[in-house]
């Protein structure tokens, strides 16, 4: 059963939309929403924040691009008992940690979120495995290797993770993110491990050595990035020929800004990203917003602005053209079958268990 309050809310919104009139004047609420910045925040602003503020003039939303340090921020704020963030966009692994620490709200997905238009409850509509105890998935994104087409002759363009590791035939610097996650997976994949077996191999000390040994082969050609926006920047400046990056950012740079980038979909590493709710002062306003912002249509809308796949099954058919460019967004979705031929599914349990140790080893490896 759904909470009647949200139902009423939905009705009110519907009435307001239908009549174009605002029924009640409400006290102003200012929400601080934390996200990843750059093109990603932009897509949320256009798909969610702006329409919501238009319908609810008493709500104003300010954006904080603190997601990269979200867990630290949440911890510090809850320790101080002064929560200034109302809604935070974060990765499921961090969300689980925050949830275990009790600093974010547990979510009853069927109760708090909208059902699909055909009545399928939220818990079944969201893609399998995406829901977390305190986590509301929003998108499927993937980490991919991209390259600057101008850096290679036309008849010799790379198209696989193997090529990324092949510095003989594809010379030039490469940029990796400065953490082990995704990189070690690719090293094993390039070393011949099947995507489904990667984490079994990586669990063993030999497997870890193997991954680092593979990375050693391109070590002299590597530089490292920290934040998502840096990878397209490095490619655009031709600081590097290849860079790993989030597919949405690369899309934004190549399609919107017209940069000569191409994505290698081979071995794309697929993960979720979504919302968590801290115990802030405006929980009611946040839940109203969330109920609406995570419904089928809204998730599909976000794909008009950035090439991340909606986390609801019911949203997929609604994905249409890019809002500004008019190109069909379906072919840029990580989940499009043409792109989804050899995906690696990021295993958060693995990284929960081995993350600290491998992060240290990776940090050390980078320094040497």
């Amino acid at each position: 059963m759904r909470n009647p309050k949200y139902k009423i809310m939905g009705v009110t919104a519907a009435v307001a939309m239908a009549t174009g009139a605002y029924v009640v004047a409400q006290t102003p609420v200012s929400l601080t929403i934390v996200s990843w910045g750059g093109a990603y925040t932009e897509s949320q602003v256009r798909a969610y924040h702006n329409p919501w503020m238009e319908e609810n003039p008493h709500v104003s939303i300010s954006n904080d691009d603190g997601s990269a340090n979200a867990l630290a921020g949440l911890r510090a704020q809850s320790q101080a008992g002064n929560i200034s963030w109302d809604l935070v966009d974060m990765l499921p692994s961090d969300a689980q940690l925050a949830c275990d620490e009790g600093i974010i709200m547990p979510i009853d997905h069927d109760e708090m979120l909208a059902s699909a238009p055909d009545g399928t409850p939220a818990s079944e509509d969201f893609l399998p495995g995406s829901l977390g105890e305190c986590f509301i998935p929003q998108i499927v994104y993937s980490t991919v290797v991209a390259y600057n087409t101008e850096m290679f002759p036309e008849d010799n363009q790379p198209n696989s993770i193997d090529d990324f590791f092949n510095v003989e035939d594809f010379p030039g610097r490469r940029a990796l993110q400065d953490r082990p996650g995704v990189n070690l997976e690719w090293a094993l994949y390039a070393d011949g491990v099947h995507p489904d077996d990667i984490y079994d191999v990586l669990e063993t000390p030999e497997g870890q050595d193997r991954a680092f040994a593979k990375l050693d082969t391109i070590k002299d050609h590597l530089i490292f990035w920290t934040e998502g926006a840096q990878s397209p920047q490095l490619l655009a400046d031709q600081e590097v020929a290849f860079s790993t990056g989030y597919n949405g950012r690369i899309f934004d740079a190549s399609e919107v800004e017209g940069q000569p980038f191409e994505i290698i979909w081979d071995g794309q590493v697929v993960e979720w990203d979504g919302w968590v709710v801290p115990y802030g002062p405006n929980i009611d306003a946040v839940m109203d917003y969330l109920y609406w912002a995570t419904d089928t249509q809204r998730l599909a809308d976000q794909a008009k602005y950035i090439s991340y796949g909606p986390a609801r099954a019911s949203s997929a058919p609604l994905v249409g053209d890019h809002a500004d460019l008019g190109i069909d967004m379906n072919e840029h979705m990580p989940t499009n079958p043409d792109n989804y031929f050899s995906p690696i599914l990021l295993d958060n349990d693995f990284w929960t268990d081995y993350g600290d140790e491998l992060r240290e080893r990776f940090a050390n490896w980078m320094l040497q």
């Binding site: 268990d353 081995y354 600290d356 080893r361 980078m366």
Partner: protein
């Protein structure tokens, strides 16, 4: 009071052979009171700032250093387990009573949402602890005695005696483990402390590199700073002041501005590379990698810290009478000998002051290495920031920070010995 004493004539104010003031108190005591009063007044002027700094600066830093040894999580979350473990032999996986206690602790912790911090804390000591604790804790509510088997089934880590040794070792209010980690050491199976495997040593290397890079920057600022300070010190005042402005302008320009300008200059599509390509010195495929590596950090930091070397050098050189050099030369020394044996030794206080200043500032530098340093150009501060903001291992960040702070304080102490407490600005 002092005045009343000095105005008094000795004749009226002698009692029992002692000087007394007009009101009859012994002069010595009276002077002492006056002295104390003046001390109190002087102190009263200083105390607002002193109090302000103690509350908002000294205490926070002290608290941060405290975090490097503070260890409340395990002892507070697993009290029953620790109690039950007192009889444990420390070798094999413990017996049922320990698991019963552990189950109870975890059930309570799960209720109060205390499992997360505990799991995070233990994962610093052993991989997979985070998963073992969070996942097992979700199931303990449904467990029935005996518990041991169910624990062993829940996660493979429970079959590893190491985890119990760690709980026992770290189940105390204070810990040394952050310092053990910060010095690239670890606990061996028998509880002794040993160095980590080569590929796991990070922090001492990084300290070493931070010091090495600071030393390179120090030498570069000396090499560049000495000639221009010398030149300025020997030019007529009017020209020297003009040149001084050229030293002070970078000094007063925002750090972010200077760092930005180095990015503009050094990047692959930047001014230096493009000029070299346009001049035909290099071709466009071989643009130099000047940024996102150690070269970038060193170039930018040398530029940023050069004024800190020039200013003290200049002020010392100003005080060296030019007649010394002339005297040496008239006594037969050639130019070089005169310069090297007579002039340079007199500039040593300036070199020392500038050098320590540059060195102190550069070993704690954060912004420039973070922006232009890439990986190889990072310094210990960047690692502290990483543990503060990304890995969230605040204990380790505090341990590294304390080590850095102590290095800086030792250097500062040496600086004081060298030049006295006078820090000059501009």
């Amino acid at each position: 009071m002092q005045q009343s004493a000095s105005e008094a004539s000795p004749n009226d104010h002698m009692r029992d052979g002692k000087l007394v003031t007009a009101d009859g108190r012994p002069l010595k005591a009276s002077l002492k009171t006056a002295e104390r009063r003046r001390k109190i007044i002087a102190f009263a002027f200083v105390s607002p700032l002193l109090l302000f700094l103690i509350v908002s600066f000294i205490v926070p830093i002290g608290q941060m250093m405290w975090r490097s040894v503070d260890n409340p999580t395990i002892i507070n979350t697993l009290p029953r387990t620790l109690e039950a473990m007192q009889d444990w032999d420390g070798q094999d996986v413990p017996d049922e009573p320990v698991f019963a206690a552990l189950r109870e602790d975890l059930a309570i912790a799960q209720e109060n949402r205390r499992v997360g911090p505990l799991a995070v804390r233990l994962n610093y000591e052993i991989s997979a602890a985070r998963g073992a604790f969070t996942r097992t804790a979700r199931t303990v509510a449904d467990m029935e005695p005996p518990y041991k088997e169910q624990f062993l089934d829940a996660h493979r880590l429970w079959g590893n005696p190491d985890i119990y040794q760690i709980i026992k070792r770290e189940g105390r209010p204070l810990t040394a483990s952050y310092y053990v980690a910060a010095t690239d050491r670890r606990y061996a199976a028998d509880g002794s402390i040993e160095m980590r495997a080569e590929h796991q040593r990070i922090y001492m290397n990084l300290f070493g590199r931070t010091f090495a890079m600071s030393a390179v920057i120090l030498v570069l600022t000396m090499l560049l700073g000495f000639p221009i300070a010398f030149w300025m010190a020997h030019l007529p005042m009017r020209y020297a002041n003009l040149l001084m402005i050229m030293v002070l302008l970078p000094f007063w320009t925002s750090l972010l501005v200077r760092t930005t300008s180095w990015i503009v200059l050094l990047q692959q599509q930047g001014v230096i590379n493009s000029s070299l390509v346009n001049l035909g010195i290099i071709d466009t495929g071989n643009r130099l990698s000047l940024m996102y590596n150690m070269t970038g950090t060193i170039i930018a930091m040398t530029h940023i810290l050069l004024p800190f070397m020039v200013l003290p050098l200049y002020s010392v050189m100003k005080t060296i009478p030019p007649s010394y050099l002339r005297a040496a030369r008239s006594l037969g020394a050639n130019n070089w000998t005169a310069f090297w044996r007579v002039y340079v030794p007199q500039t040593l206080p300036g070199i020392g002051a500038g050098g320590v200043l540059v060195f102190i500032i550069s070993i704690g530098y954060y912004i420039t290495p973070a922006l232009v340093g890439g990986q190889s150009g990072r310094m210990i501060s960047n690692m502290i920031a990483y543990h503060m903001q990304t890995s969230l291992n605040w204990g380790l960040a505090a341990a590294l920070g304390s080590m850095l702070l102590i290095s800086v304080l030792i250097l500062y102490w040496a600086y004081n010995k060298l030049v006295g407490a006078d820090i000059k600005l501009g």
